[in-house]
C-alpha cells in the first residue's frame, strides 16, 4: 500500500518534471522573439513593464489560499531544481536524448539567463537590508536607547559611503571645496578615497588583527593534554606552527636539504603533516559534508523536508 502510494508520487514527479522541462523549453522559444536586448526608452519601458507585471503577479499570489500558495512554491522548487539537474546530468551532445538539430543539450544555453534572473531577485534584497537597518537604528534614536549615538554613527557612515561611492563612480572629479582657507581643492574622489583607505580598510584590518589576540587567549585557556590524542595533536601543532616560521626552520637548519635526514627538518615535517595527514582527514570530512549537502538538496527539491519553515509536506 505504502509502496503503491510512493510509486504514484514518483510518477507524478516524473510527469510534472517532463511537462515542466517541455514548458521551459517551449516558453523560451516562444518568448525569445519578444525579449530582445533593448536600449534607451525601450529599455526603461521594459523594466517598468517587468516591475508592474511582477507586482501584479505577487498581488494575485498573495490573495490565493495557503494550500494553493504552498503548491505553487513546491512546483516552482521542483521545476527550478529539475532545470539544473537536467542541464548537468544530460550530456552536452546526444542523439539519444536530444532530437533537435546538432543534438545539443537545450538547457545549456539557458543557464546564464536563469542565473542572471536569480541574481536580479537577490538584488532586490538589498532594499530589504537597508530598510531593516534603518528601522532598527531609527527606532534606537527615536527612543533614545542607551548607545543611540552608535545608531547616529551608522546613519552618517551609511549615507556618506553611499553618496561618495556613487559620486566616485559617476563623477569623481567633481570639486566639492575650492579654495577655502588653507584648503585648495577637494574632489569627490579624494573624499571617497579617504573614507575607504583611511577608515574602512584600517577598521576591517584591525578587527582581523584582534583574531590573533583571541587565538593566544584561547590557546592558553583551552589546549589541555587530557588524553593521548590531545598529546598527538599538540605535537602535530608544534611542528605545523614552527615549520612555517624562520625560527622553527632555524632549529633544524643543520640537517641536510636532501637525503633521508631532510625529512626531519621542521619545514618538511610541517608540510608532510599538512599535505598528507591533515589533507586526508579534511578530504574525509569533505566527503561527509558533500553527501550531507546532497541529502538536504534532495529533501528540499522533492519536498520531503519537514520543519517549521517547510511546514507539512503535501
Amino acid at each position: 500500500m505504502q509502496a503503491r502510494k510512493w510509486a504514484i508520487v514518483a510518477a507524478i514527479y516524473a510527469v510534472s518534471g517532463l511537462l515542466g522541462a517541455v514548458a521551459l523549453w517551449g516558453l523560451t522559444h516562444l518568448l525569445s522573439p519578444v525579449f530582445r536586448p533593448a536600449t534607451g526608452v525601450a529599455f526603461g519601458l521594459a523594466i517598468a513593464a517587468s516591475v508592474v507585471l511582477w507586482i501584479g503577479l505577487i498581488a494575485v499570489i498573495h490573495r490565493l489560499p495557503a494550500a494553493v500558495k504552498k503548491r505553487i512554491v513546491v512546483t516552482a522548487t521542483f521545476v527550478a531544481g529539475l532545470f539544473y539537474v537536467l542541464e548537468y546530468y544530460l550530456p552536452a551532445k546526444s542523439a539519444v536524448f536530444f532530437w533537435r538539430a546538432h543534438h545539443t543539450n537545450p538547457f545549456s544555453p539557458m543557464i546564464f539567463t536563469v542565473g542572471d534572473a536569480v541574481s536580479v531577485i537577490f538584488g532586490f534584497t538589498f532594499f530589504l537590508a537597508a530598510f531593516s537597518l534603518s528601522l532598527v537604528h531609527g527606532k534606537s534614536i527615536a527612543a533614545r536607547r542607551p548607545g543611540y549615538h552608535n545608531s547616529i554613527a551608522f546613519f552618517v557612515a551609511f549615507i556618506m559611503m553611499a553618496v561618495f561611492g556613487l559620486w566616485e563612480t559617476y563623477s569623481p572629479d567633481t570639486t566639492l571645496i575650492h579654495h577655502i582657507g588653507w584648503i585648495r581643492r577637494v574632489t569627490a574622489h579624494q573624499v571617497y578615497d579617504h573614507l575607504f583607505n583611511s577608515m574602512y580598510v584600517p577598521l576591517t584590518a584591525t578587527l582581523f588583527s584582534v583574531l590573533s589576540f583571541y587565538m593566544a587567549t584561547a590557546a592558553f585557556r583551552a589546549f589541555r593534554i587530557r588524553s593521548a590524542e590531545a598529546a598527538f595533536m599538540m605535537v602535530a601543532a608544534f611542528f605545523c606552527m614552527m615549520g612555517q616560521v624562520p625560527l622553527g626552520m632555524w632549529l633544524t637548519h643543520n640537517l641536510p636539504l636532501h637525503g633521508p635526514l631532510s625529512h626531519l627538518r621542521m619545514e618538511a615535517m610541517a608540510n608532510w603533516t599538512l599535505g598528507v595527514i591533515s589533507m586526508a582527514g579534511l578530504r574525509a570530512v569533505t566527503f561527509g559534508v558533500l553527501v550531507g549537502g546532497l541529502a538536504i538538496s534532495l529533501r528540499i527539491w522533492l519536498n520531503l523536508e519537514r520543519g517549521a519553515f517547510f511546514e507539512q509536506e503535501l
Partner: protein
C-alpha cells in the same frame, strides 16, 4: 575571583603578544625562509605562462586580510611585472578586492616600467558569482565589457586576442574564503586552465586536497607563503620583514600552551576542578 583572574590573565597575554610582535618594528631581524614545494610550483607556473596568454590575478579578498592576501598579491604582481607577464586584476567575491589590487599594481608598475592598458588591466568587481564566472570563462570581453575605469576592455592592447579562459595562462586566486572551488568547477573543469591558490594561513589545509589532485598548480599559505615567494623573487619585501614577528608570536603561543598545561597538571594533582570540560 576566577573572573578577576581571567580578566587579568587575558590582558597580560594580549600585552605579551603585542610586545612579542611589536618589538620587531624597532628591532630589525633578517629572516630566511626555506621555500616549500607548493610555493615553488606556483612560482614555476607563473614563469611558464606564455607571452600570448594573460594571467588573471583574482583579488577575492577584503581589507581585513590585507596582512596576508595583500602581501601575496604584491609578491605575485611583482613577479608578473618583473617578467613582463600580462595580467588582469579581477574580483567577484568582495567589492573592495580589485580596488586594493589596483593600488598595489599602480604602486609597483613604475619600478618595472610597465603601463596600465599595455601590460596590465583591471577588470574590476563583477557581480553574479558562479554564473558570472561561467559566462566569463566562455566569453571574457562579452562578460567583463568595461574595466575599473569604465572604458571598454577591448580598447586596451593587453586584451588583444583574449577571448575566453583558453587564452588565460594562469588564474591566481587570492582569497580568504572558499572561492577556489568555483574556479576549479567552472574553469579548470571545462577549459583546463591552470589555477594557483594564495590563501590565508587558516584556509591553507583546504587547499591541499586540490593540490594533491592536480587541480591547482601551487599554493601560498598566508604570510609565510608570501615570504617564500619574496624569497624566490630575491626581494626582501614586507612579508619577509614580518616573519620574525610571526616567529615570535608562534613561540609565545607555544609557551602559553606549555604554561597552561603546567598549571592544569598542577591543579589536577592538587585535586582542584580544572574548569568546564570541552566536549564534541
Amino acid at each position: 575571583m576566577e573572573q578577576s583572574s581571567q580578566f587579568w590573565s587575558r590582558r597580560i597575554i594580549w600585552l605579551l603578544l603585542a610586545i612579542a610582535t611589536g618589538i620587531f618594528i624597532v628591532v630589525k631581524v633578517k629572516a630566511v625562509m626555506y621555500v616549500s614545494r607548493p610555493a615553488l610550483s606556483l612560482y614555476e607556473a607563473v614563469e611558464r605562462v606564455p607571452a600570448d596568454k594573460i594571467i588573471v590575478v583574482s583579488c577575492n579578498w577584503e581589507p581585513g586580510t590585507r596582512g596576508e592576501n595583500g602581501l601575496q598579491t604584491e609578491a605575485l604582481i611583482r613577479h608578473c611585472l618583473r617578467n613582463g607577464k600580462h595580467f588582469a586584476i579581477f574580483g567577484w567575491a568582495y567589492p573592495a578586492g580589485p580596488q586594493l589590487g589596483q593600488q598595489i599594481a599602480e604602486r609597483l608598475q613604475g619600478r618595472y616600467h610597465r603601463r596600465y592598458g599595455t601590460d596590465w588591466v583591471n577588470w574590476g568587481y563583477k557581480t553574479g558569482q558562479n554564473n558570472m564566472v561561467r559566462a566569463w570563462a566562455q566569453n571574457i570581453p562579452g562578460t567583463i565589457k568595461e574595466d575599473i575605469l569604465h572604458k571598454p576592455i577591448t580598447s586596451y592592447p593587453v586584451m588583444r586576442g583574449i577571448r575566453s579562459a583558453r587564452d588565460v595562462g594562469l588564474i591566481l586566486e587570492i582569497t580568504p574564503s572558499d572561492t577556489l572551488v568555483t574556479y576549479v568547477r567552472f574553469v579548470y573543469g571545462i577549459y583546463g586552465t591552470p589555477i594557483g591558490y594564495a590563501c590565508t594561513g587558516v584556509m591553507a589545509p583546504e587547499g591541499f586536497p586540490y593540490l594533491d589532485a592536480g587541480q591547482i598548480v601551487g599554493l601560498l599559505k598566508g604570510l609565510a607563503g608570501a615570504a617564500e615567494y619574496e624569497q624566490l623573487l630575491h626581494y626582501r619585501g614586507e612579508a619577509l620583514k614580518r616573519m620574525p614577528a610571526q616567529s615570535s608570536a608562534h613561540l609565545l603561543i607555544i609557551a602559553l600552551i606549555v604554561v597552561g598545561n603546567v598549571l592544569y597538571f598542577r591543579a589536577r594533582r592538587r585535586g582542584e576542578a580544572p574548569g568546564r570540560r570541552l566536549s564534541t
